[in-house]
Structures are given as C-alpha cells and as structure tokens.
Symmetry: C2
Subunit: 191 residues, 2 copies
Amino acid sequence: MKQFQDRIRAEGRVLPGNIIKVDGFLNHRVDTALMRDIAKEFKGRFDLSGLTAVLTVEASGIALATICAEEFGVPMIFAKKAKSDNIEGGLYKSDIYSYTYKKKVTLIVSSQWLGPDDKVLVIDDFLANGEALRGLVEIVQEAKAELIGIGIAIEKGFQPGGKKLREAGVHLESLAIIEQADENGIVFRGE
Amino acid sequence: MKQFQDRIRAEGRVLPGNIIKVDGFLNHRVDTALMRDIAKEFKGRFDLSGLTAVLTVEASGIALATICAEEFGVPMIFAKKAKSDNIEGGLYKSDIYSYTYKKKVTLIVSSQWLGPDDKVLVIDDFLANGEALRGLVEIVQEAKAELIGIGIAIEKGFQPGGKKLREAGVHLESLAIIEQADENGIVFRGE
C-alpha cells in the first residue's frame, strides 16, 4: 500500500532499539481517514464472506479494528489484558509475553462473544515478535471459531512474528513490511 | 437517546457493586453501527465548529472516540495509562485514581499532538466517579487547548462524576443517565 508506506517514511521516526514511531497518525493520535483507507484495502485482500467479527487486542489496535469492523458490517471485539473487576467467569485466555512492558500478560475474551459459529478476522496495528497475535489466534482456536486471516498495518519484517505466522499457514496481510529502519531511513520489503 | 437506553435495558445486566455490564455492544464486543448513531447524536448536541481533535483514554473509550472523530473529520487522540518504552519526553500528565483497578494511574498525552491552537471534544464510554475525565480535562488545560465539551455514552447518575463536571461549567452530554440499577432493573434520568 504505497500511500501508507509514503506516510510512514514522511512522518515516522526511527528510535534506538528498532522502534518505529508512528504515533502522529497510527497509535496515539489516529488519522481516522487513513484507518478507513486501510480498512478498504483489507476488504480487497481477504475473502470476508460469512465474517462475523473483527478481533483485536487493547489498546492501540482498537481504532483500526473499529473502522475495519464498521467497513465490513460486523462487531469489533477487543481482547483485554489481565483481569478487571468488570469481567466475570467464562473466559478464553492466552498468556503472552509483552515486549513493550517486559512482562507476562494474559489476554482474555469473554466466551459469550466468540464461539464455533464465528468467522473472525484479526486486526492489529503492529506485528513484531507476534506474541499478541499468537495469543489472539489461540483464543480463536479455544473458541473453536474459524480464523479467516490477520490484517496488520505495519510489520517489522526483521523480527520473527510474520515469518512464524506465515509458516503456520495463516493468511497474513501486512500493508507495510519494514525490512530495515535506522539512521539512513526506512526500507520496505519489495523495494 | 431513547434507542440507546432501550438497548441498555434489553441487553445490559446489573452486577453487584452497581456495575452495569454492557460488554455485548459497548466495551468488549462493540456494535460499530451503534457507535456511528451515537457519533451523529453528539454532532447535534455540540457546536463543533473549529474542532481539531477528539480526545479519549485507553482502552474502552477508543472505539467510540474513533467513530466520533471520523464523523467529525478530525483525528482521535487517546491518552495512555502509565509509561511504555515507545513514548519519549514532552508529555502532558495527570494522576487519577482508577476505581476499576483500585490504584493510581498516570494519564499521558504527547505534547506534540495537543497545544494552544486545539479545540477538543472529550469522548468516553462511561462516567461514574469522573476520575478519568478529570484527568483528560487537566491534560487539555495543561496543553492550553480549548475544551468544547464532554460526550459520554453512559453516565451513572448516582455517582458524583457528572455533577462535579456540570458544576465546574463543563458542557457535558450523556446519552443515557442511569439513576438506579438493581435487581428490579434500570431507571434512567427523566423517567
């Protein structure tokens, strides 16, 4: 998605530790018109017939997943991290390691809202090590729902998450795959 | 907003501790079409001329705030809780008490994305004690931005947040104000 890659190159910044900072339009201040363009792009890349839900994980995936879900005409479900008082029993759970927070985190989804009749598209803003996505895929499996695929805005191609998911046979679509990011700038896969 | 109140009565559940569970359509599985209806309702209730941003706080406010921001044609900014490695210096901060997690939480917004030229509408899914909103209002003040008002989906009228904000002169619009919620059902303000 050329327009999106141009935006990342123009406005993104590379920080030490291979951090790609795109918080001006993707994951702190969110350009909602861009989210709509991304949703339309995903619509062309997946077979969404029979889709019943878009699934993501709090917090930074929610904005994109919401616009995608509205574009596809289905509800958006977000997995929560750890347990708040407002969620009762009957949960699907998956333990993941959060590289952002450097600790174990449990993803939870109420079993009321996902089951064997569901066809799910997973959406997230970033894919790096793929731990959050591994957790979401596990939750879809726990629910005995069908995973149609995973749509990602930015994949860090130099980290192992994308490779692992593709090798596992998941239909993964990343709109910008960054192969290299340093003081010389950003190189996308295919360039 | 009658349609929304009917939905809360039909699908919401009252749990011990005055918890109103609406996670089937508002804050776990999200009905994106309903979010669009709510955004349109807010459009009629606020003077949005010159609006530059919708501000909310992670995580459960993001879905509604995203659709509102798209409806109003502005970016959506979400305050983060505590500090992750991906946010640098230059932050607006406000300490609040989270009743959900029973601890102090610091809300942060990068000063890059909010400043004296901004006109901001704050959006959130719930208003109870009003701590999260107090924090967001403080951040708008710190940024020397203009607060147009606060739009809330569900206000718990029997908790003090709404009263405090109205007494402080904030233009607060809540689409459903719950006066009473117990085993006998839900009573909305004005009924």
